[in-house]
């Protein structure tokens, strides 16, 4: 490690040399794994922390010695991300191989048993399947609603018109609200007695209307609140695409008397396709994680439990830390597969176009 660190900053040398930071990462990983296996949790934490600091230091020294400005510029970001994101991820990956409960001191290595149990026993349990299908239902419904509403709103604001700036900020406001306020106030709107929805329906001659009494109603209520809150996000992305279409293309299309439908598909759509896909990706990931609105609106009642809420319950309320971590990793696997599928499709489309 030292020999590499002391090597002269020859530009040819750096391409073929084994980089010292790579070695530092390898050493750090080995020591960290050993420390977590042998030492108690608190000591292991500091050992792993020291290893991380060593890796970071080797990274910076390497970059500095070689006038490797790119590396120097990137290193603070990598350091923060490592400490706050990647390190906890590795930790939870490690935890998923143990039997550990955060309210007890004991910790026991069980290998793949957590995963084995999840894949054999728990997946057969109708409850977990219900959570998974509910999550899928929410993903499909909320993302579809957000894409449609967001797209229509973007079309509405694509043109320049008087007061546009002031009206646009009104539409953007839902996104700025705290999810706690949205959840609580939608339960206020849906309330069977004093809720506005129920009062409006009553005024039109209906009976007392209890939206949350059935699964369909509960799902509709949650989807509506979520779609209302996050459609402006889709709108912003699509609007950015619409605004960036060069005006002369439309002028040329007007001269050639191209129909509106065809003009959309041949001129507008190529400009917003990438952003639409990006909005789809971001919103799908977010919808997959959905828990807060469910907690606030139904507390999982009426068969609206999502998988994310299930993990929070297991890990936080029942203190089954390891099982929660194992389930999280299975979920992560699904998300990564979906993401790569998305990237694959997006790449193939853009190459085909």
């Amino acid at each position: 490690m030292t020999s590499v660190a002391l090597s002269p900053p020859a530009p040819d040398f750096k391409t073929i040399a084994p980089d010292n930071w790579k070695l530092a990462i390898a050493v750090g990983l080995v020591v960290s794994v050993l420390a977590t296996l042998i030492l108690p949790a608190n000591a292991a934490f500091w050992v792993v922390g020291a290893m991380a600091a060593m890796v970071a230091a080797s990274f910076v020294v390497n970059a500095y010695r070689r006038h490797y400005y790119g590396g120097l510029l990137v290193s603070p970001a990598i350091a923060v991300l490592f400490v706050m994101n990647i390190f906890p991820l590795l930790w939870s990956l490690g935890l998923s191989f143990f039997a550990y409960q955060s309210n007890q001191q004991t910790i026991r290595f069980v290998g793949l048993r957590n995963y084995q149990q999840l894949l054999t026993n728990d997946l057969k349990a109708p409850e977990l399947w219900a959570n998974l299908t509910n999550t899928a239902l929410f993903v499909v419904l909320t993302v579809t609603a957000q894409m449609i509403v967001g797209f229509l709103l973007a079309v509405l604001f694509a043109k320049q018109f008087p007061l546009r700036k002031y009206l646009l900020i009104l539409v953007l406001t839902p996104m700025m609200l705290s999810v706690v306020a949205v959840g609580v106030f939608f339960s206020y709107y849906y309330d069977p007695t004093f809720g506005l929805l129920s009062q409006v329906i009553k005024a039109w001659g209906g009976e007392q209307f209890i939206l949350m009494s059935s699964k369909t109603g509960a799902v509709a209520g949650i989807v509506f609140a979520d779609a209302w809150m996050w459609s402006p996000f889709v709108m912003l992305l699509v609007l950015a695409g619409l605004v960036s279409v060069p005006k002369y293309l439309y002028e040329a299309a007007a001269i050639d008397r191209v129909s509106g439908w065809r003009r959309f598909w041949t001129i507008t759509f190529p400009y917003i396709r990438g952003l639409l896909m990006l909005a789809l990706l971001f919103r799908t990931i977010e919808a997959f994680k959905m828990a807060d609105l469910v907690i606030l609106l139904t507390k999982g009642g009426n068969d609206t439990m999502t998988i994310s809420y299930h993990v929070i319950r297991i890990a936080n309320e029942q203190n089954k830390t390891s099982e929660g971590a194992a389930l999280s990793y299975l979920l992560l696997f699904v998300v990564i597969v979906l993401t790569n599928l998305y990237l694959y499709i997006a790449n193939r489309r853009s190459q085909g176009a």
Binding site: D19, A41, F45, Y69, G70, G71, L72, L73, P76, A77, I78, V80, M84, F87, P88, L89, W91, S92, L95, S102, L153, K159, F161, P162, L163, L167, L170, V171, L172, T173, M175, M176, L177, S178, V180, A181, V184, F185, F186, D191, F194, Q199, L236, L239, A240, L242, S244, V245, Y250, A254, R263, Y271, L278, F288, I312, N316, S328, Y329, L332, V335
Partner: protein
């Protein structure tokens, strides 16, 4: 030449063309849609001026004025500022002395934590984005993908180890811990966005400056940075909106002194149903909305330009 415009065009509508100009007719249409969309927020704001009995009234009390007799009296409430004062100090027991609720502290915490972490992410992320954009790093794309992936992960995957890590290292309940965590949340987005801006700049000007003997630092500060100000503004707004309202990590990782408004709001909600003090909650949310609303409004023009992410064909 005869006026060939249709009645719609005379009213101010133009034929839809994606980009273009439209008149007051379109404004009217957009205003109706926008107001319907804004209605739930408007009700929250109006509720903040209502007493509890008015908030729960059947039939609902909708507006603070009769609009010159247009609205029947039964739908009208008399606006009060009581909720706003009781956000900051109120009597917990009926008839008791008013106590401070600590909300001034929570507002300070929210502003301090959100602005510090977003600015920190902006500084660190902009440097990294410049590095990724201007210097060929080995495995550049891999780093960028990993950085993006950390944003894609469900929060639940990292929350357990983050709690453990904070507990062991004593960061739990400190400003430093939550600020660093939020900085890490904002970084992937900041890096991707700023990189797309740096990628769009023409390298010719920079090369010319280098030939004239400008240092790398001077090239970055005097030439690149001024050109990406719109991107900085847009990234700031997005980061602020997301950080401002973050709830899950704030709930689990902030202490009494560092509690942010969303967490305090959740505690003020209490049990739900009739027990919720609707006017008070609405007042908290209204006050909490103002800063981020103003920032977004003033940086709005940059926001639109900023979200293109460089995915748009040039």
């Amino acid at each position: 030449m005869a006026d060939t415009r249709s009645i719609w065009e005379k009213l101010g509508f133009r034929k839809a063309s994606g980009v273009g100009e439209a008149g007051w007719g379109h404004t009217l249409f957009a205003a109706i849609i926008s107001l319907i969309y804004f209605l739930p927020v408007l009700i929250i704001i109006l509720t903040s001026f209502k007493l509890q009995t008015e908030a729960l009234a059947v039939p609902p009390k909708l507006l603070p004025t009769t609009l010159f007799g247009l609205i029947p009296e039964q739908y009208v409430f008399s606006p009060t500022l009581e909720n706003f004062t009781s956000v900051f100090s109120r009597a917990y027991v009926a008839g008791g002395a008013a106590e401070s609720t600590g909300f001034d502290r929570f507002f300070f915490n929210s502003i301090f934590i959100a602005s510090t972490s977003v600015l920190l992410a902006l500084v660190i992320g902009t440097l990294a984005a410049y590095g990724f954009s201007r210097y060929a790093l080995k495995g550049n794309d891999t780093y960028l993908f990993i950085i993006l992936t950390t944003r894609m992960l469900p929060a639940i995957v990292v929350i357990i180890p983050v709690i453990l890590m904070f507990r062991i290292s004593g960061l739990s309940g400190s400003y430093l811990g939550i600020i660093l965590l939020y900085t890490a949340f904002n970084l992937p987005f900041t890096i991707w966005m700023m990189k797309s801006f740096f990628d769009e700049l023409s390298p010719d000007v920079e090369d010319a400056a280098r030939l004239d003997g400008s240092s790398e630092i001077k090239v970055f500060r005097k030439i690149c940075l001024p050109q990406v100000l719109a991107g900085l503004a847009a990234t700031f707004v997005f980061g602020l909106i997301l950080t401002w309202n973050e709830f899950l990590f704030a709930l689990l990782l902030t202490g009494v002194d560092t509690r942010t408004v969303p967490v305090a709001m959740n505690q003020a909600v209490g049990g739900g149903g009739i027990g919720v003090l609707w006017g008070l909650l609405a007042a908290i949310e209204t006050l909490f909305l103002i800063p981020v609303f103003l920032v977004t409004f003033f940086l709005q023009d940059h926001l639109l330009r900023g979200v293109t992410f460089g995915t748009v064909k040039r």
